[in-house]
C-alpha cells in the first residue's frame, strides 16, 4: 500500500470550497470580533529613569462600595439613648411613680418605674445620659434612695409654704413669698448624681412644676455654640442665641401640659408683634423659630413665669394668678464656674477668656443658684458636679470644702475663706461667690438594703443569673466600693472585670 503525501497548500485547495477556511490572510475591512484585551499595566516598580532623582509611585484609588455616612449620622449613633431592652423580662410588681408617692415613706429604698409621659418629657430635657445603663432593662425605673425621698419632701414643703402664703396674700399682693431651695449635688464618680437630678425632674413634672434644665453646662463653656454681644451693655454682655433657642424649644415641649394652660398677662417690648392671649408654650416657640429674638423671648417668658400680673376676677377684684413652681437643673456645673474658652480682645489688645457670668443665660442661672435672686412662687435650683473631672473648677472645690466644713461644724457660722483657698492659686472670685454659701448634698454608696433592692430589680429584668442572696449582695456591694451604684451595675449586670 502506497501513500501519497500532498503538500499542505495543495491539500487545502483539493477540499470543497465550503470546507476551506473563509478568512483571508490579509484584509482592509475592520475586524468584527472584539479587539484583544489590552495588556495589563504592570505597577511602576521599575527604578527611576535616568536623570530622575525621585521615585514616583502611583497611588491606588480607594473604591468606596457604600455611601459615606451623612453629616452627623455617626454622632447620632454615638449619642443615641436607648431606654428599653425588649429581651429583658417584665419585672414583677414594679409600680409607677406618682406625684404623691415621691416623698412617701413606703417607697423609700424601693425601685419605682418612671411613667411613660414623664419619660418623654425627660427625654426632651435630656435627663437621660449616654453612659447610663437604661438600655439593659425593660423600661426606665430608678431606686428611691434616701436622698431622693428627702428631696421630694423638701419640694412638697416648697409647695405648702407657697400655699400658706397665697392664702395670706389672697387680696392680690404680688409677692408670693415662695421658698427657693438651692442645692449642689456632689459625690464620687458613679454615685448617681445625674440620676438624682433626673428623679428630681421626674418628681417636678409629676407635681406640675416647670422644669428648665441645662443638661450639660460644658456646652456653654466650650466655645462651640455661637455667641454675640448684647447691644447697649457695659461691660459687654453676650448672648448665646442658638443655645437659648434650643433651650426654649425644650422648655416648651417638655412643659407643654403646664404652659399650655397659662397665658401672657404682661405687655412685653419685643421686636415682633405678639398676639394677645397667647399661651406660654406657643410664646416660647416664637423664640425657637427665630434665634435672633430667643433671648428677649426667654426674658419675657421668665417674667411671665415669675411675676404674674394681678388679674381681675368676676367681681372686679384683683387676684394673683397662680404660677407653677420652677425647677432649675444644671448638670456638670464645673465648666461655668471658671473662665470659658470664648475669647475677646480686651482694651490692651490682648485675647482674654470671657467669664461665664458675662453670658446672660449663664448669669441668669447662676444668680438663682447663688441666691442673688429668688423665685417668687418658690422652687428648687439644683446643680450637680460630674465625676469626670476633665474640666476642673477651683472655685467649686473651695465651695464644696466650705459646705463640708459647715456640715461638720454647724456652730461655726463665719468660715474664713483663707482656710480653704490655696493662696498660691489664682482664684476666680466671681465664680467663688456663686458657690460660697450653697448647701451641698453629698452622694455616697447605697446601703446594703438599697443595693439589694436594686439588684433584685435587675434580677427581675433577667439581667442577673445568680441567686440574689445576702452573700451575693454583700460581695457585689464591696466590689462596688461600698455600694457606688454605677460600679454596682458594672459588677452585677455587665461583665465583671
Amino acid at each position: 500500500m502506497s501513500t501519497i503525501v500532498i503538500p499542505p497548500g495543495r491539500c487545502l485547495r483539493t477540499l470543497p470550497r465550503a470546507l476551506r477556511p473563509s478568512t483571508a490572510p490579509f484584509s482592509t475591512s475592520t475586524h468584527r470580533s472584539l479587539p484583544a484585551p489590552a495588556k495589563k499595566k504592570t505597577g511602576t516598580f521599575a527604578p527611576p529613569k535616568r536623570g530622575e532623582r525621585t521615585l514616583k509611585l502611583k497611588k491606588r484609588d480607594v473604591v468606596r462600595e457604600t455611601r459615606p455616612p451623612a453629616p452627623g449620622e455617626r454622632k447620632a449613633v454615638r449619642k443615641r439613648i436607648v431606654l428599653s431592652n425588649t429581651n429583658a423580662l417584665e419585672p414583677a410588681g414594679l409600680v409607677d411613680l406618682t406625684a404623691d408617692m415621691a416623698g412617701a415613706e413606703e417607697v423609700r429604698g424601693r425601685v419605682v418605674g418612671i411613667p411613660g409621659e414623664v419619660v418623654d418629657a425627660l427625654r426632651v430635657v435630656e435627663g437621660f445620659k449616654v453612659g447610663q445603663g437604661w438600655a439593659f432593662f425593660r423600661r426606665p425605673a430608678a431606686l428611691m434612695r434616701n436622698e431622693v425621698v428627702e428631696l421630694a419632701r423638701e419640694m412638697e414643703g416648697v409647695e405648702q409654704a407657697r400655699g400658706a402664703d397665697e392664702r395670706a396674700v389672697g387680696s392680690g399682693v404680688r409677692d408670693l413669698g415662695g421658698q427657693t431651695l438651692r442645692k449642689l449635688v456632689y459625690g464620687e464618680r458613679g454615685t448617681g448624681k445625674s440620676v438624682l437630678l433626673l428623679q428630681a425632674m421626674a418628681t417636678a413634672f409629676l407635681r406640675g412644676w416647670v422644669v428648665i434644665s441645662i443638661p450639660e453646662a460644658r456646652d456653654l463653656y466650650l466655645g462651640q455654640t455661637e455667641y454675640a454681644p448684647l447691644p447697649n451693655t457695659s461691660p459687654v454682655q453676650y448672648t448665646q442665641n442658638e443655645y437659648t433657642a434650643k433651650l426654649l424649644a425644650q422648655i416648651a415641649k417638655a412643659n407643654r401640659p403646664v404652659l399650655s394652660k397659662l397665658k401672657l398677662t404682661h405687655a412685653h417690648n419685643l421686636p415682633i408683634k405678639i398676639k394677645p392671649g397667647l399661651t406660654l408654650d406657643a410664646f416660647a416657640e416664637l423664640g425657637v423659630n427665630d434665634p435672633e429674638i430667643a433671648w428677649p423671648v426667654f426674658q419675657a417668658l421668665w417674667t411671665e413665669l415669675t411675676a404674674p400680673a394681678a388679674e381681675a376676677d368676676a367681681e372686679g377684684k384683683a387676684v394673683a394668678v397662680p404660677r407653677p413652681q420652677i425647677l432649675l437643673a444644671i448638670d456638670n456645673v464645673a465648666p461655668i464656674l471658671r473662665p470659658t474658652q470664648y475669647k475677646t480682645l480686651d482694651a490692651d489688645g490682648k485675647l482674654r477668656p470671657i467669664h461665664p457670668q458675662d453670658f446672660v443665660l449663664v448669669k441668669h442661672f447662676l444668680d438663682y443658684f447663688r441666691g442673688a435672686r429668688t423665685l417668687p412662687q418658690g422652687g428648687l435650683v439644683l446643680a450637680a458636679t460630674s465625676g469626670n473631672e476633665t474640666v476642673k473648677s477651683d472655685a467649686l472645690s473651695v465651695g464644696i470644702a466650705m459646705a463640708e466644713a459647715r456640715v461638720a461644724n454647724p456652730e461655726n457660722k463665719q468660715l474664713k475663706l483663707g482656710d480653704f483657698w490655696n493662696l498660691y492659686k489664682e482664684m476666680d472670685m466671681r465664680s467663688l461667690e456663686a458657690v460660697m454659701d450653697v448647701e451641698a448634698l453629698k452622694l455616697e454608696g447605697l446601703s446594703k438594703a438599697e443595693a439589694r433592692a436594686v439588684i433584685e430589680y435587675w434580677a427581675g429584668n433577667g439581667m442577673v443569673r445568680s441567686r440574689v442572696e445576702e452573700g451575693f449582695v454583700g460581695e457585689k456591694w464591696t466590689l462596688a466600693g461600698g455600694g457606688v451604684v454605677g460600679e454596682l451595675e458594672k459588677a452585677v449586670v455587665r461583665m465583671r472585670f
Binding site: 455617626r74 454615638r78 436607648v82 429583658a88 423580662l89 438600655a135 439593659f136 433584685e456 440574689v468 455587665r494
Partner: protein, 354 residues
Amino acid sequence: MARLRISPSCAFALPLRPRTQLPRWHSGRPSPVDQSFAPLRQFADSNASKPADGSSTDVLPSISEEAAAVAKATGRGGPDIEQGTPVQDVVKDDIEAQKHLPKVMLDELKAAKPTGSRSYSTSAFRREQLETTGSSDTGLESAVLDAVSAMGASSAKEMEAAGVKFGLPSLPLPPDANLHYRYHPVVQQVVGLLMRHGKKATAQRNVNLILAHLRTAPPPVFRADRPLAPGHPPPSHLPLNPVLYLTLAIDSAAPLMRIVQLRGAAGGGVSLPVPKPLNLRQRRRAAIRWIIDAAAKRRNHGSGKGMLAKRIAEEMIAVVEGRSSVWEKRNVLHKLGVSARANMSFSRTKRSMF
C-alpha cells in the same frame, strides 16, 4: 448476665442497656476526668454470687449490677459500661427485629429525631466531661426563675460551725473560685485574642461591650442549613445569657481540624496536606480569629470607642444566624480535610523510612 434475644434473624445475643446519650453541647468549664478501671476478679474473691445448685457455670450479675459493685468497692465512678453496640443501633434498619422490641424502646425509636444536627458529632467535649459537668448546667429558664424566686428570700443555708465567722463554703468549690480562673474560659480566651500591645483592660472593656451588645440585640433567627452546635437553647434564651450566646457562636464556627502541609511528602517537591485534629481550645482559637478577621472587614456605622466591639458582636450574631463568611471558611477547610484524610497515615517519621 442478662441477655436479650430479639428475633430469630438476630442470631447473636445483645447486652440490654439504655441508649447512649448524645453528647450535649454546653458552655461550661471542663472538669477533671474521673477515670476508673474495673479490677480483675481474683481467685480470692467472694463466691457468693455462685448458684446454689452447685453448677460449675459462673452466673455473672448484670453489667449494671457489676458496675455498681465495682463502684462501691473502689469508691469511685465504676467502669464505663457504655462500650459495645447499643440495641437501638442494631435494630435501627431491621424492621423485622423492631416488631419484637419492647414498647419503651419502640417509642424512643419513633420519637422525632433532632433536625438541624450534623451527621457527625462536632462536640467539643468528651463524654466524661459531659457526665461530670452536664448536670450543673441547668437551663436558662430555671436559672432566671431561680434568681427571681430567690428575691426576698433570705439565705437558705445557715452554715454553722464553731469558730467560723462567715460559715463554711460548700464543697466542691465552684470552678470560678480560683483567682486565676475567675472568668469564663471562653471570655478569657476572647480577651486574650482581642488584646493588642498588652492592653488587657482595653480588651476586657471591648469584651464587656460585645456582651452588652449581645444582651440588647434582638434574638437571632436560626438557619436550618447552618447547623449550630447540638443541644443549643432556643434563640429567645440567648440574649439573656450573653456568655452562652458568645460561646455558641464560637463553638458552632469552630473547625474540627487544621491542615498541615508536609513538605515534599508527595514527592517531586509537592507538599502533602494532612489533616490534624484540634483540641477544644485550639478549635475555639481558630473560630475567634476567623470572627475577628471577618469583623475587621465590616463597616463602622457610628463613631467612638465602642465600634470594634460592635462590629465583632454583629459578626457573632451573623455567625449564629448563618450569614457570616466564617461558615464558608469552615466548610472549605472541612472539605479539604475530608479529601486529605487519606494522608492521615503520613507522618514525618514514616517518611524518613523511605
